[in-house]
Amino acid sequence: MRFVDEFRDASTARALAAKISKLCEPGRHYKFMEVCGGHTHTIYKHGLEDYLPDNITLVHGPGCPVCVIPMGRVDDAIHIARQPGVLMTSFGDMMRVPGSDGNFFDSNAAGTNIRMVYSPLDSLKIARQHPDLHVVFMAIGFETTAPSTAMTVLRAAEEGIDNFSVFCNHVTIIPAIKAILDSPDLRLDGFLGPGHVSTVIGCRPYEFIARDHGKPVVVAGFEPLDILQSIYLLMRQLRQGRAEVENQYARVVPWDGNPVALRAINAVMEPRPYFEWRGLGFISHSAMRMRDRYAGLDAERRFDLPGVRVADPKACQCGEVLKGVLKPWECKVFGTACTPETPIGTCMVSPEGACAAYYNFGRFDRRRVREVSRA
């Protein structure tokens, strides 16, 4: 357990912070985006921003798969669940995501049967056990979860199960990062790359960020010291005038990712021409749909979907939060009308969402008070 202790050691954290400070050029401000919701969680939980010098700001990116599901897709899911004989399944995170007419719990109160499952394989098992029902799995998530959905589809096809289908909402991280890089209201100095997504896609897909945009990327682990060390590596690159992809989390993330997982995704799914992200709008090639070969297992083809685009609630500023333009507490409804119990926007639903992470840990230190009063 020595390893763990090292990771937790506050004096190591302070030593790292001092090294980071030394790399700061006077008068320069640095903005880094952590793409992954898991990182956001660690940062708030451990108050990591308090360790950093004032001229380094962390902005929270779009890497929370629940947070980016647009209202219209929740409505479509509820529409499917309302069809006779349908049992819908999804991850627990989805249950409280608001659609235009309530969430899955509200929908169940009105008669649908939407159940939480731990794994897509649990859904498939339910389908086997209930040949009289049609079981739909609402698939969400980045490349971390997509291989599991793909493997489940392959298995269903192999077994010839025909009362099972997938409502595919898988999104891909690279187009979202591209959209953020192209967004004029945000100037970033570098990225903390997502840890678990990278176990699947590896580190190469980030190379364009360094090559074409001249910004460093460091794929980071989830421990507080992982994140501080990754910030140190970003700062060192900037200081040395380099822009490269580095892998701080090499103990888990292979440089080339998981080829079996990539093959599975590719066998079952193909990129959609475009997909709407909550708050970010339409992003081309940013999501996956089922290939023709698996049309029979594709809920989008088995059911007629309304596919109506629903605008985000007016009060909701999740788009700004997801792009890192606003800090959670700068949203007007944060903590008042919008709380984890009564989320208006999706960033408040999942504990990985920036608003929920911030709300749950409620850290209000010197610097944030200053930022709040400045806002």
Binding site: T144, V253, V260
Partner: protein, 94 residues
């Protein structure tokens, strides 16, 4: 249940199922469960190896130190972790 789908949980491989080489029994915090190891087919884990489990699938092999660190991180986040293990316990994969 499963309130943090992004969470990966470390588990120790106890045995590989004879009849189904893509399934393994893992131990996570004293809970024994079947998980799918098909995504590690290029370099299958052996009993005693640690893997990172994500929604019922082993996503990568990790070393024991990493497992311990991840575990402590998870226990530290409290309820989400309890929920995740409870969800895994209820999960019924084959």
């Amino acid at each position: 249940m499963g309130d943090r789908m992004c969470l990966g949980i470390p588990g120790e491989i106890i045995e590989i199922r004879q009849d189904r080489p893509d399934l393994a029994t893992v131990a996570v915090s004293g809970v024994k469960r079947a998980i799918n190891i098909g995504l590690l087919a290029d370099d299958p884990p052996l009993p005693g190896d640690w893997v990172l489990i994500h929604v019922g699938f082993a996503l990568s092999k990790i070393d024991e130190d990493e497992a311990a660190a991840a575990m402590e991180f998870l226990e530290d986040i409290g309820q989400s972790y309890v929920d995740e293990v409870a969800a895994l316990r209820e999960s019924d994969i084959d």
